[in-house]
Every structure is written in C-alpha cells, then in structure tokens.
C-alpha cells in the first residue's frame, strides 16, 4: 500500500502526460491554421507521414518518462508484426495489374534503373562502411552479417515514397504506377533476404534451401489471399468487414513471422491477389482499409519510435553514406531513364520526384529487426528514419521553386 502510494502519483502523472500528448497532437494536427502553417513551411509531408508519432514513441520510451517501458514494448511487440503485415497488405492491395497493361515502352527498364542503381550504390557504400566498423575479432565469413545488413539497407533505399509522385502536383497514373513497381521490387528484395539469410538455431524447424523458402513465401501469400477472399465474402456489416480484415492480416502476418518469412511480403502477395480477383469484396475492403489504415499505421509508428535505439553513433555515421549513395543512384537512374526510355520526366526536378524515402522502407528495416534480432539492425533504423526526414526536407526544398505559385499538396498517409 505504501509502495503504491509512492509510485502512484508518478505513474498517474505520466499517464496523463501521455494522453495529453496524444490529445495535443491530434488537436494541433486538426487545426486549420496549423495545416496552413505546415503547408507554408513545407513540412506537411512530414506531419502527414506520421513522423510526430515516431517522436511521440521516442518520448514515451525515454526512461525518464517511462510510459512505453521495456516490458510494455515487449507486450506490444506483436503489434509490430501485425503492423508490418498491414503495410504489406495495403501496398499489395493497391497494385492493380490491369494498370500495367498500357504502360509506355521501356517501363520495365525504367523500374530496373530506378531500383537497381540505388540498390547497388547503397550496397557497395554501406557494405564498406559496415565492414570498416565491424568487430574484426568476431568476423565470420560464413555468416557475413555486414553483407546481409547492406542488402537490407539497399532494398529499403531502392524504393521511393508514394507521395513523391504528388510533390510537384504530378499525380499522373504513369508515375504512380512506376512507384508501385518500385515497391514490388522492394518486396521481392525483402523476400530474397528472408529466404537466403535465414536465422539458424535448434528451435527452428523445417530445414529447407533458400529457393524453397522463396516459393513458400509466394505460396503462403497465395493461400492466404484465397482464404481472405472467401472470408471477406462472408461479411454483412462494415464492423464485420473490419473484424475479418484485422483477423486475416494478423493471421497472415503471424503465420509468415512464425516461419521466419517476412510478414509484409506474405501479406503483400495476399493483398495483390485480393486486388486483382474480380468481385464485390474490393469495395468493402477498400472502405475497411480506409477506415483502419491511418490508426494502425500511426500506432505502428509510435511502437517503432519506442524501440528505436538511436544511441549508437554508427547509425548516425551511416546516415550520410546511405543518403548520399541513394541520391547518387537515383540521379544516375533518372539520367539513364531519360536517355533510354520514352517515359516523360523533368530532369530539373528529379530530386523532388525520386528522393523521398517512404514508410515501406521503414517497414523493411523494422521487418529485418524482427527477423534478425541479434544482427545490428538498429543502426540501419537510424539511417532509414533519419534518411526519411532528411530526404523529405531535401525534396521539399527542391520542389519549392517549381510550386511557389501553387499551394503544396498534402497527400494522405502512405503506404
């Protein structure tokens, strides 16, 4: 009783502070003059992308605040797996293969340049950095952790945020589809990493070659897609659609994670299946996704903020390498796209269109952290989260001149 009386007021004050912080964020975000200010300062993207919620997660996770303590974060860790599945599912559901039918000639080449060149540039520079800063006394060539981490960062950096297509008021279907295809490439990359860099241990069953895991990923996603299709046909009300969608994504994400596959890739495949099977379920699903997308994503970001270990200096040192290599790769890709394809582009503003790092990139490093908890992934999170903020600001600065006369667009939350 005495102990409670001493501990009580502190915890209550923290609780109230946390709630007030949430309330304050929501209230401030909803005020028209704040939205106008965000647009004027060109930070609307950052706000709508949910970075304040990452900051809130960091704040609540600080030992001096003590709301999202280690034990609470441990309890909430299933939310990360679910959030990853959710992000993969929504990204997959937005990939309509019918949109690929009449794309201009050279699209495949353009996507190849836009993803492969940044990937290669990041892979090379980050691998060198990680090799240089690794502990040589524990270096194991048979299990090259630095290479796996470089692959993860290369995959995360290969994609561009979806809102980039709208940054310059360029909301063309062509650009959006290109960015969707970049996401597809990122998912393929993540599937490869999960299949070929599998964790080892006594408790892990099903010893299969990497290629078999790759097929299993796609097969599992397909089976879950069929299951989700049948399940979602059974909903009668919006509340039931929400329940069935939550259940399907949680089941898919949990199943994938249990097999040490990337949950977001498994759910991505299921989402693509559902998006491309004809039927009335798509409208219901779209409505349920619209209702839940932002809340789940923002909760995911709060949890990401709480687990983000930003104390390691290597993460901040890696940041310029990562961002620099990515920008170089994207610039090179844009130049080659202009020279070798018919896809319309404006060379002056490639930075605004190609620079922003999206939430899917953040999800890829979080996914890697869940797959390889012992593998130095936190420094990659620092690079990607820091890089996302930095590239967003860079893109806004470069876009400013072109759109000076127009009000900035405030796109919804990706993915």
């Amino acid at each position: 009783m005495e102990a409670q009386a001493v501990q009580g007021p502190e915890v209550v004050i923290r609780l109230i502070l946390a709630l007030v912080a949430l309330l304050g964020l929501a209230y401030l975000g909803g005020l028209p003059f704040v939205q106008r200010l965000e647009r004027r300062l060109r930070i609307a993207q950052l706000v709508t992308a949910g970075f304040p919620f990452v900051a809130l997660g960091i704040l609540l996770g600080l030992p001096s605040v003590g709301i999202l303590t280690e034990s609470v974060v441990g309890t909430l860790s299933p939310l990360l797996g679910f959030g990853l599945g959710w992000i993969g599912f929504t990204a997959g559901f937005r990939l309509d293969v019918r949109e690929l039918d009449d794309l201009p000639k050279g699209t495949a080449r353009a996507v190849g340049f836009a993803t492969a060149l940044p990937f290669a540039a990041i892979l090379a520079s980050v691998a060198l950095f990680l090799l240089a800063t690794s502990d040589w006394s524990r270096f194991d060539l048979s299990n090259p952790e630095f290479l796996r981490n470089a692959f993860v960062l290369g995959t995360a950096g290969a994609m561009t945020a979806q809102q980039a297509a709208r940054l310059l008021g360029d909301a063309g279907r062509e650009q959006r589809t290109l960015l969707r295809l970049e996401e597809l490439a990122g998912m393929v990359g993540m599937a490869f990493i999960a299949a070929y860099f599998r964790p080892h241990g006594e408790g892990i069953g099903w010893q299969l070659p990497g290629t078999a895991w790759l097929f299993l990923t796609v097969g599992l996603g397909g089976v879950l897609g069929v299951l989700a299709y049948v399940v979602l046909l059974r909903s009668d009300t919006p509340a039931e659609s929400v329940l069935l969608l939550l259940g399907t994504v949680a089941f898919g994400a949990g199943f994938g994670a249990k097999l040490y596959l990337a949950p977001m890739v498994v759910c991505f495949v299921a989402g693509v299946f559902l998006s491309n099977v004809p039927g009335e379920h798509r409208a219901r699903l779209r409505e349920a996704l619209g209702r839940l997308e932002r809340p789940i994503y923002l909760l995911f970001l709060v949890t990401v903020g709480a687990i983000w270990d930003f104390d390691d200096w290597r993460g901040w040192a890696l940041l310029p390498f990562f961002v620099g290599a990515r920008l170089m790769g994207k610039w090179l890709a844009e130049s080659l796209i202009q020279q070798t394809t018919e896809i319309a582009s404006n060379d002056d503003h490639w930075m605004a269109r190609r620079a922003p790092i999206g939430q899917l990139s953040i999800a890829i490093v979080v996914s890697a952290q869940l797959l390889f908890p012992e593998g130095g992934i936190p420094i990659l999170e620092t690079a990607v989260l820091g890089g996302a903020i930095l590239t967003e600001l860079l893109a806004q600065i470069f876009a400013r001149n072109r759109t000076k006369a127009q009000p900035a667009l405030t796109p919804g939350v990706e993915p």
Partner: protein, 439 residues
C-alpha cells in the same frame, strides 16, 4: 461454409504450430486465428438461435489448450493483453449507457434487486458452501468458526456477476427497455457491492484465522482502489470528452482504444480497477457533456474484434478436466446461485413496485459470470494459500458452467421480454422487423 472455414483455419494453424513453439509472432498468429475462428463459431451459434457470445466462448474452449491445443497456454496468456482493453471498453460502453435521467425511475428497482438478489445470493451461497462442508475437502478439516467465515467469502466470490457479458449481449441483441436497463444498473452496482463484500468478509476470515491488523490495510487498499479509480475515471472521461469536442471523429476510435489500453495497463499497476475507471469516464461523458452519442458510435465500430477475442480467450481458459473433478459441487452451486438471483430479483422488484417485465425477467440477466469472480478467486488464493487453490478450482468450475449456460438464458429472457431489437426499433422503425428475427 462457416464450419469449413474453421476447419481450414485449424489446418493452417496446426501446420504453423509444427514449425516452432513460441515467440512474439505467435501472439499475432493466435490473435488472427482466434478472431476468425471465434467469429465463424459465433455465426454457427447464431444460426442455432444461441448467443454469438457463447459461440466465441465455445470456440475458445475447442481450440484452447485443454481440447485441440491449437492455442498453447503461452499464446492464451499473451492474448490476455486484450482482456484489459476489452474490460475498459465494455465499462466505457456501460458507463456511456447510464443516462442518469433515464435511470432515475429505475433506481428503486436497482437498489432493492441489488440488496435481495446480489447480497441475498452471496449469503445463500455462503450457507450452501457451509452445508456442503463434508463434500469440500478444503473446508472439511477447518474448525467451525473459521469454516463459516471461509464459506461466506467463497459465497461472495461465487455471487459475482459479469457486466461484460450483460453489455455485450445487450449490444448483440440490440435490446432496450426497463428490464435490460435495470439489469445493466444492477450488474454495475453489484460489481462494487461484491468487491466491498469480499473485502469485508475476507478481512473477517483473516482475523478469525488470527491475522489482526489486516482490516485497516484492507480498508486503505479499498479506499485507494475505489476513490482512486473514480477520480482517474473523471480525468480520463474529461480527456475523451475534450478530444471529441475539439477534434471530433478524426482518429477518435484510435484515441478511445489507446485510452482503454493505457487505463488497463497503468490502472492495474496502480491497483485501480480498470472497470471503475472506464465506467466513471463513461458516466461523465454521457451525463456531463454532449459527446455521449459520438462516443457510442466510435466504440461500436472498434468493439467487435475486442469482444470476440476477449470472450474466446475466456473460453480458452476453461479447463474441461477441472469440470470433471469439481463438476458435481459446481453444478449444485450454479443451481443455488441461479435460484438465489432469480428469486431475490423477483422479491426485490416486487418490493420496489417494478414493472411486470422487470419482475419476471431481470433475474436471468444477473446469471452471467466471468472476470470478477476469477479475479476475486485469485485474491482468495493469495489471502489463504493453505487451501485457496482448492477453493479457486471450485469457483473456476462454477464460472465455467455459468459462462457456457448463462448467456443463452439471458438471450432467451431478452427475447421473451420483448426487449430484443427494441433499440433498432427506436433508431430506425422500418428496420425493426428485420432485426427481430436476427436477434
């Protein structure tokens, strides 16, 4: 088709379980599996004119550790994180339903039914436990006076009701009217009354066993729990009302779920009762602000998945092997409890001059039992470690039977009283006919 889907999900779950046993991702998998299987089980039960809620519980029993074992005990333990959120959401719903103006005419009925049915049944159960002393190994070797005291405590624990089941069934059946409102009022008040009775009788029993000085500690703890919970509830209610007033619907469902999570997590650390905190918040929002209807809409959308998992997890906790051991005495106490609540409710309603519908049917709404009895049983084990575990097994048996049977009985009472579907009728008269058969 519902059954086929459950079988398909079960097959996939079995395949996943062959890979490895644990990990945080197992919780995500279990959450999705429970949500889907319980939902479809609820549909099957609904087609059989049984409450969906019983279907959720039955699904939990079947896939849980004691029958098919598709959910491991660790998974069930991890899913308990939903319990706190669910209880807080249910209490927020209940509080938000307690429009004091509308309840004023029912206060007399609530008072007298609580006195006769709840307090009376606790005493009756205490007497029954003492009378069956010879059949209960944990009581048979205790001297007379302490055994009377322990019997009283066990009686109080077994008398507890379940606001969660009552609120969930009321929602499922879209019920409204004097009977369902009276039942809601009684179970909410009974929650407090049973906590107080437990504190008083367990302190008495402890002092009989020779542990003086416990009473003041217990009273202090109770004061802290009740007053602290109510004060925090007012603060939480104020925050939610401010959000709804100044921000509106934007992200409100997320905010409410987050608040419920924080209330459950922090509340339990502070020894607050999350149910009381959320109840006070709900009452404040309904009666002191204009945000009650907006809150109702936001909870309605978010509550279904939480309810489904909550009741399925409650089912997964039911140990059928235990029922085989304590089945006979547990059945006797379920019958005594049922008789006490129905008869006490009729006497209370008659004394209060309640309408005929309350007199005839309200008692059946008091039968559901769940979390509070289990929580008090756990406290009983802590208070009396020498024989508490045996008494707890008996209480678990009683709760298990009530969890399975009572929702179906209350559903039947709601239909027979004519209050099922009344809420839909009031909100949209043209939809009433459709809603009635569905209920």
């Amino acid at each position: 088709m519902n059954l086929l889907l459950i079988l398909a999900l079960g097959g996939l779950m079995h395949a996943a379980r062959t890979f490895d046993a644990g990990g945080a991702h197992a919780t995500t998998l279990a959450f999705g599996f429970v949500l889907l299987t319980a939902f479809f089980a609820g549909r099957i039960f609904s087609n059989l004119r049984l409450p969906k809620l019983t279907g959720y519980i039955a699904a939990g029993i079947v896939v849980g550790p004691t029958v098919l074992g598709l959910l491991s005990p660790e998974m069930v333990h991890d899913l308990e994180i939903v319990d706190g959120v669910a209880i807080a959401m249910i209490a927020l719903t209940a509080g938000n339903e307690l429009d004091l103006k509308a309840f004023r005419p029912l206060l007399g009925s609530i008072y007298w039914i609580t006195l006769f049915a709840v307090v009376g049944t606790a005493i009756l159960l205490g007497v029954a436990v003492f009378a069956m002393k010879g059949f209960l190994p944990f009581l048979s070797e205790i001297p007379l006076l302490p055994s009377i005291a322990v019997a009283l405590v066990v009686g109080v624990v077994m008398a507890a009701q379940s606001p969660a089941v009552v609120v969930a069934l009321r929602d499922e059946m879209e019920a409204d009217g004097p009977m369902s409102r009276t039942v809601l009022g009684v179970v909410v008040i009974a929650d407090l009354v049973v906590i107080l009775l437990f504190a008083a009788t367990s302190s008495l029993a402890k002092s009989v066993f020779g542990a003086p000085g416990e009473l003041s500690d217990t009273l202090g703890l109770l004061t802290w729990e009740i007053l602290g919970s109510l004060t925090s509830g007012v603060l939480v209610g104020g925050l939610i009302a401010l959000y709804l007033r100044f921000v509106g619907k934007q992200g409100a469902a997320l905010f409410v779920v987050t608040v419920c999570f924080v209330v459950a997590e922090v509340g339990s650390r502070l020894h607050f009762d999350p149910l009381l905190v959320a109840l006070a918040a709900g009452v404040l929002i309904r009666n002191a602000t204009r945000q009650g209807d907006l809150l109702h809409g936001q909870i309605e959308m978010a509550s279904l998945p939480v309810y489904v998992v909550f009741f399925a997890v409650a089912g997964a906790h039911i140990d059928l092997r235990l029922l085989a051991t304590v089945g006979i005495p547990a059945t006797v106490f379920v019958l005594v409890r049922g008789f006490g609540l129905v008869a006490g409710s009729r006497i209370g309603a008659r004394v209060a001059g309640s309408p005929e519908v309350v007199r005839r049917w309200a008692g059946f709404g008091l039968l559901p039992q769940a979390g509070l009895a289990l929580a008090l049983a756990a406290l009983f084990v802590k208070a009396f470690p020498a024989f508490g575990a045996d008494a707890r097994a008996l209480v678990l048996g009683v709760v298990a039977l009530n969890e399975l049977l009572a929702p179906a009985i209350y559903r039947w009472a709601l239909v027979r009283s004519g209050e099922a579907g009344k809420r839909v009728e009031e909100e949209a008269p043209d939809l009433a006919e459709e809603a009635q058969p569905a209920a």
